[in-house]
């Protein structure tokens, strides 16, 4: 038996013995996921147990080195783990910006001391992170950010405002882009700081979304003192780290639409009129088929791009293709779900619709092609970096 086959069997047996039954079903939405952190209230004992068991093996972060609490798996093993989890519909034990964004960047660029300090808590889900990138004047043009960090010897004094900070009101720490040099060219004056959201001078204000929920906030920094030791890498190099982190974020967002329990076609067969085993609306049938063809090709692309990537590294510039396509498909899927459910899918409150589940999910997906860099920005990156087209 090959090593991989042995690994598969052991993994399967371990999952079988350790994944609680209630954790073997798709996560129903952002509220149903495990986010970890100092103040996190577990939805169930099973959710807590599942996190602890997975974290104890480092399988919340399968490919991270064991030195930082990670699983130390190679790419093939990590893929096997994922496949075996999918087979029993095991949930992702931990949703975390620490895992999907900050961690990979720290692994690549942070000092050994910093890795030791921050990575294990990410693996264990002890600290919940939020992302302080965007500002009112710096969205697509992120590098024009104005949040100021003054060098005060042993600490930086941070003043400014971030916006659209997802879960800032629930996060324990923030990874934050600041300007340390106002004289340098705009990409070169940026630094990457980590600080506790409980620090004096940090405040947040939730912003209500069109879905009626408030997952993101305005974040204000008013004379916040950040010890020098919380600067990642070198001052002025923040943009490099920020961009690398974004490729991981984009890869994560590209998959926001994946993992649904049922395909649109399957749901349509339940909710839309059928005759003789087919959808009665031939146009809907065609639209769903077209969507599923793209989706199947997309899923295969995600797999191929990951297989091609170097071990330990991300998918690089390909993250823009994945992000662009994955999010556009997810929006398309949601529009199809409205067509499938018809007026029933547009109910906003009431038990009949699970308090407007379909409609609110549909509205949430509209952000997918905005957050983490808009579709237009992704297309610009593809044109410039992958295709090498001249810029205007």
């Amino acid at each position: 038996m090959s090593d991989h086959e042995t690994f598969r069997q052991e993994t399967r047996a371990w999952l079988e013995g350790n994944c609680p039954q209630s954790m073997r079903s798709p996560i129903l939405g952002e509220d149903d996921a495990c986010w970890g952190g100092r103040g996190f209230v577990f939805k169930s004992d099973d959710q807590k147990l599942w996190l602890e068991r997975m974290a104890s093996r480092g399988w919340t972060t399968p490919t991270w080195p064991t030195a930082y609490g990670g699983g130390g798996l190679n790419k093939t093993e990590a893929k096997i783990l994922k496949e075996e989890m999918r087979k029993i519909k095991a949930r992702n034990p931990l949703n975390s910006f620490g895992i999907s964004m900050l961690g990979p960047m720290l692994l690549k660029y942070a000092s050994e001391e910093m890795k030791q300090q921050y990575l294990p808590d990410i693996v264990q889900g002890k600290i919940r992170w939020c992302q302080g990138y965007s500002e009112p004047g710096a969205g697509s043009d992120l590098a024009s950010l104005q949040t100021k960090a003054e060098d005060k010897g042993d600490h930086y004094l941070v003043n400014g405002q971030k916006v659209w900070t997802s879960y800032a009101d629930k996060a324990d720490w923030i990874f934050c882009l600041v300007r340390t040099d106002f004289d340098a060219a705009k990409h070169l004056g940026i630094s990457f700081l980590l600080f506790d959201m409980a620090s004096e001078g940090v405040s947040t204000k939730p912003i209500k979304l069109i879905s009626g929920n408030s997952p993101f906030c305005e974040t204000f920094m008013d004379d916040v003192k950040v010890p020098k030791g919380q600067l990642v890498g070198e001052a002025g190099q923040g943009w490099t780290y920020a961009k690398y982190l974004l490729t991981h974020e984009r890869e994560m967002i590209s998959e926001m639409g994946s993992g649904a329990a049922k395909s649109v076609g399957e749901i349509a067969m339940e909710l839309s009129p059928t005759s003789e085993g087919r959808l009665r609306d031939p146009i809907l049938r065609g639209q769903i088929a077209a969507h599923e063809i793209d989706y199947a090709s997309f899923v295969a692309t995600v797999e191929r791009v990951r297989d091609e990537a170097k071990a330990g590294g991300g998918v690089g510039a390909a993250s823009s293709t994945l992000k662009y396509y994955g999010t556009e498909l997810n929006k398309d899927r949601s529009e199809l779900m409205l067509k499938v459910g018809g007026s029933d899918a547009l109910e906003w409150e009431g038990q009949y619709s699970g308090e407007g589940k379909v409609a609110r999910t549909w509205l949430r997906t509209k952000a997918n092609s905005i957050e983490g860099g808009t579709s237009e920005v992704q297309l610009n990156i593809i044109s410039k970096r992958i295709l090498g087209l001249p810029s205007s």
Binding site: S134, G137, G139, S140, D141, S144, V163, W164, I207, K208, L209, I210, G212, L271, S272, P273, D281, P282, I283, L284, Q287, K331, E335, L338, K339, G341, G342, S343, D344, A345, L346, E347, W348, E349, G350, Y352, G356, A359, L363, K366, A367, S369, I370, E371, T374, S375, E376, L379, N380
Partner: protein, 379 residues
């Protein structure tokens, strides 16, 4: 007929635009939503809507109407769409009024149309029974009794159900779901024994509801039109309703587009207005062209309705399908081009998007009308 508004119609448009932009805007809708208004509209504004004559568009002059016809209704609907004006106008003054105006007996018209025009009586049509518009598929049934009928079944997606005083319920007096024949329209009073009205809160923060009929007893006087033969005249009223709701979608698209264009000029990134980027310019220009097409298909269909043209069904499906497609694009593009702001409740584009999907679904979405168009064209 020229595909332009005549002088009178233009005056109507201006007066609707002025009135609605002052009295029934997105901000008013937002306030109604936030206060969880029980009626979902402002009674004073509704009374003024009637005083201004907007409730009289489709009713014959003999019954208190102003004879503006469907072109008039379309003109008002477009302005309602631009402002997302919340009122029972579409359900009562257009759909119910037209159905009664075209199907009811003289005595019934005499009794019913005046209060509809005055706005004192709110009547609404209950046709759909599930998530998908399918008038032939109606299965609510009316069983013959001594001297009348008893109605059983469910109706969903009924506009203004919980504020209506009367319901035009389409039920089956013979045949079975899928048959065009066998349908009859009944007028039910709110509060009739066995008629349960539940409000449903939908994405657009407007008024919707469900009816449950558990043996609602009515006399034969409650029948509007003739027994078993409602489908053809009903479908004609629905066609007019489809074009008028298409006009609302046009208004939504235009307002949403206008907000987006303003934003493209205002918002700066990379040191320039985002409207400088050709990637956005071309999409805006495409959308503009699409809106123009929707506009034309709607005027054409509205005029066909007033001319009682045999082409109405085809033109109505063209207009509604095109309006659905354009409104979907306009609202999606708006959110995308606004970026993060577009995702916030504070920004109006979300309101346009939510109302658009509801109006798209009402009386047949894009797919319904594309399929119907193919049927009507015989391919």
């Amino acid at each position: 007929m020229a595909l332009v508004l005549n002088e009178e119609q233009q005056l109507l448009k201006d007066s609707a635009a002025g009135f609605l932009a002052e009295k029934a805007t997105v901000e008013h809708l937002r306030a109604l939503r936030d206060s969880r208004s029980e009626t979902g509209y402002d009674a004073d504004v509704w009374a003024e809507t009637a005083e201004m004559g907007f409730t009289a568009m489709v009713v014959d002059e003999a019954y208190g109407g102003v004879g503006f016809g469907m072109v008039g209704a379309g003109v008002v609907a477009e302005e309602m769409g631009k402002n997302l004006s919340a009122s029972p106008w579409f359900a009562s003054s257009v759909v119910a009024a037209d159905l009664i105006n075209s199907m009811a007996s003289d005595t019934q018209k005499e009794a019913l149309l005046g209060p509809i025009v005055e706005g004192s009586n709110i009547v609404t049509l209950a046709v759909d029974e599930g998530g998908h518009h399918d008038p032939e598929g109606i299965s609510a049934r009316a069983e013959k009794t001594d001297g009348g009928y008893k109605l059983y079944g469910l109706k969903s997606f009924v506009p203004d159900a919980h504020v209506a005083t009367q319901y035009l319920v389409v039920a089956r007096t013979s045949g079975s779901a899928g048959d065009k024949s066998g349908l009859t329209v009944f007028l039910l009073d709110r509060g009739t024994q066995g008629l349960i009205v539940d409000q449903s809160i939908m994405a657009d923060s407007r008024n919707w509801g469900r009816l449950t009929m558990e043996g609602v007893a009515v006399t034969s006087d409650a029948i509007i039109g003739s027994v078993d033969d409602a489908f053809t005249p009903l479908d004609k009223t629905l066609d007019k309703a489809r074009v008028v709701i298409a006009a609302e979608l046009l208004g939504i698209s235009r307002a949403c587009f206008a907000d987006t264009m303003e934003y493209l000029k205002d918002r700066k990134q990379f040191g320039v207005a985002i409207g400088t980027f050709q990637a956005l310019q071309h999409r805006a220009a495409h959308l503009f062209s699409d809106i123009e097409l929707a506009h034309s298909s709607i005027i054409k269909a509205l005029q066909a309705a007033d001319a009682d043209s045999p082409a109405l069904a085809t033109l109505a499906s063209v207009a509604k399908a095109k309006a659905c497609q354009v409104a979907e694009l306009a609202t999606n593009e708006a959110v995308q081009m606004f970026g993060g702001i577009g995702m916030t409740d504070e920004c109006n584009v979300g309101f346009y998007m939510k109302r658009a999907r509801i109006a798209q679904a009402l009386y047949g979405d894009y797919n319904f009308h594309a399929g119907r168009y193919a049927d009507l064209r015989g391919f």
